[in-house]
């Protein structure tokens, strides 16, 4: 269909030459993952390998379990009342659901950015960035904090916009700036993996594009997982795409996973095609 063709057109040209990491070691291996909200079975039997150095997009209709999925990767799923998960998630080969695994440490290594920007309202921009350091590490020299703040904000492409406002409250920034601040905050503790749950859904197109550029520049150093309901965004910003969908039983399942280009231009599954062409959702 023509629509899909035009989608393929907006895939960035450099993606074409990217080598897909089929034979590099996966950073995250998800094995038979099931997640529940009390009695409700939200996602069923997910198996998925996520590779370092790439942006992996998770797409699918509302309620298919995208958020649930990535929250399972840093054990944030279980902080919801009554929620629990079974199965394995291996990070660098180690199961984060092992009985002796410490969720606090896991979350320190796996940064997360949420759909709605959530800077700490009582903290300044500066303090927001180093919040993770302050909470987790012994007190450091001011110069060290200064350095981290500048580096993180630069990485988040926010430094120039806020360098004169470091002492303003985090909530005094615009929505897009707040979201980049949250990314900077996540980067400040130098995680290995960055999970982003619809990070641009609250933002206007300009801010959205900035975030996408940012992801592109970060992916060399991090393993990035991006949940989005915006097809164009998935097509533009990701290297791999996983399509999830919930069945009649409301359990979310992985329908198709592969290179973004393939998924968008040549989906193997009829449901993927329908969804991407806008017939579903």
């Amino acid at each position: 269909m023509s629509l899909i063709k035009s989608m393929a057109d907006i895939v960035r040209p450099h993606r074409e030459t990217e080598t897909v990491a089929e034979n590099s070691q996966p950073k995250i291996q998800i094995r038979n993952l099931n997640a529940y909200y009390g009695k409700q079975h939200a996602i069923e039997d997910i198996n998925l390998d996520i590779y370092p150095g790439l942006v992996t997009a998770i797409i699918g209709p509302s309620g298919c379990g995208k958020s649930t999925m990535i929250r399972c990767i840093n054990r944030m799923h279980e902080v919801i009342k009554g929620a629990y998960a079974t199965g394995e998630v291996l990070v660098d080969g180690e199961n984060i659901y092992a009985p002796d695994a410490d969720p606090v440490r896991i979350r320190r290594r796996i940064g997360m950015v949420f759909q709605k920007p959530n800077p700490f309202p009582t903290k300044t921009v500066y303090e927001n960035v180093i919040a993770g350091l302050r909470l987790n590490l012994p007190k450091q020299k001011k110069s060290y904090y200064d350095e981290v703040v500048e580096r993180s904000l630069r990485s988040a492409a926010l430094w120039d916009e806020v360098k004169d406002k470091l002492n303003a409250p985090g909530t005094a920034l615009s929505g897009g700036q707040q979201q980049r601040l949250c990314i900077a905050r996540a980067l400040a503790i130098e995680p290995e993996i960055l999970l982003l749950d619809e990070p641009a859904s609250a933002l206007d197109p300009t801010a959205t594009l900035k975030i996408e550029d940012l992801l592109f520049s970060l992916k060399e150093q991090y393993t990035i997982v991006l949940v989005t309901h915006n097809m164009q965004q998935a097509a533009r910003a990701s290297d791999m795409t996983a399509f999830f969908m919930a069945g009649e039983d409301h359990k979310g399942r992985l329908v198709e996973y592969g290179e973004t280009k393939e998924i968008f231009i040549n989906p193997k599954d009829k449901r993927t095609e329908d969804y991407i062409s806008g017939r579903l959702g």
Binding site: N74, M76, V79, K81, G82, V104, R105, I106, R107, R108, R109, G111, M112, F114, K116, N118, P119, F120, P121, T122, A131, G132, R134, L135, N136, P169, T171, A172, C182, R185, A186, I189
Partner: protein
């Protein structure tokens, strides 16, 4: 529209207007009650307030003059001690309910808080009498403080619970996702976020306890002299108001009105001050 309908419209309109009138009357009545009571207290009480009133101990029966200073001091001491006990327990309970509220135990705690908050205060008096006055201290400021603390705890727990619930989960998740242990999330993220509201609700609980009479009747007894020793009976403004009000002495009536005005002003000042400071706080942080 049909004619019948038009005719009916008139009576419907009329009844709507009539009931609107009733609603207005109810509102005006309800609102005016406050003004009536406050103006009586103000007019009758203002005349009693002079330097002696604040600095002197009560005079013997039938002699004019003197003041209620021991009662003012006693109320402040007992409130302070009660707050010292009740604030940590109340806040901790609220934190438990909100942040760890998934268990059956937490539900039971909530329920207990709910029931304690609505216990008649005279029952609290009996309880502290039986537990403390009878077997430990005799009538004492400490017993009075404990009674006030028991009254404050559930009020604090309940209002702090409401306040903590206002903190969006996204904020907790933001902190958790940074790899922060739960207790640090609570202490360094959740509580600072709502600190002004927290202080307000705590102070309102203190203010409410300030006016309690019935439990003090059975625990702190009263005192005609200054007393700073918690082990001995202590005077309190509500007690003084009660005994002066029911007496036949005109001078005491005046003092009772004065003390009432003072008590209400105290409650008003506490809540006003809290509002003022929290507003400043909010201005500074935003």
């Amino acid at each position: 529209m049909h004619d019948v309908e038009l005719a009916r419209m008139r009576t419907r309109k009329l009844s709507a207007a009539f009931f609107y009138g009733l609603v207005i009357i109810a509102t005006v009545l309800s609102v005016s009650i406050l003004f009536i009571i406050i103006s009586h207290i103000f007019m009758n009480g203002i005349g009693a307030l002079n330097l002696d009133f604040f600095t002197q101990i009560p005079k013997p029966y039938g002699e004019e003059g003197g003041g209620i200073a021991p009662a003012i001091v006693g109320t402040l001491i007992m409130l302070a001690v009660a707050a010292l006990i009740a604030i940590p327990v109340g806040v901790a309970t609220a934190i438990f309910i909100v942040e760890y509220g998934q268990t059956k135990f937490a539900t039971a705690v909530r329920f207990a808080v709910e029931l304690l908050a609505e216990l008649p205060s005279i029952v609290v008096g009996i309880f502290i009498w039986a537990l403390v006055v009878r077997s430990i201290t005799g009538y004492s400021g400490l017993a009075g403080s404990l009674a006030l603390a028991v009254i404050m705890i559930p009020i604090i727990a309940r209002s702090v619970e409401e306040i903590l619930k206002l903190v969006p989960d996204t904020l907790r998740e933001a902190a958790l996702a940074l790899g922060t242990p739960r207790w640090k999330v609570v202490l360094f993220i959740v509580i600072p976020t709502v600190l002004p509201g927290l202080l307000t609700s705590i102070m309102l609980a203190v203010a409410r306890a300030a006016g309690e009479t019935a439990p003090l009747l059975l625990t702190s007894l009263g005192n005609t002299f200054f007393n700073f020793d918690l082990r001995r009976p202590m005077a309190a403004m509500p007690l003084q108001i009660y005994s002066y009000a029911i007496s036949p002495y005109d001078d005491w009536h005046k003092k009772a009105w004065g003390a009432t005005l003072l008590l209400i002003a105290l409650v008003g000042i506490i809540s006003g001050a809290v509002k003022y400071f929290t507003r400043r706080w909010n201005h500074e942080s935003h």
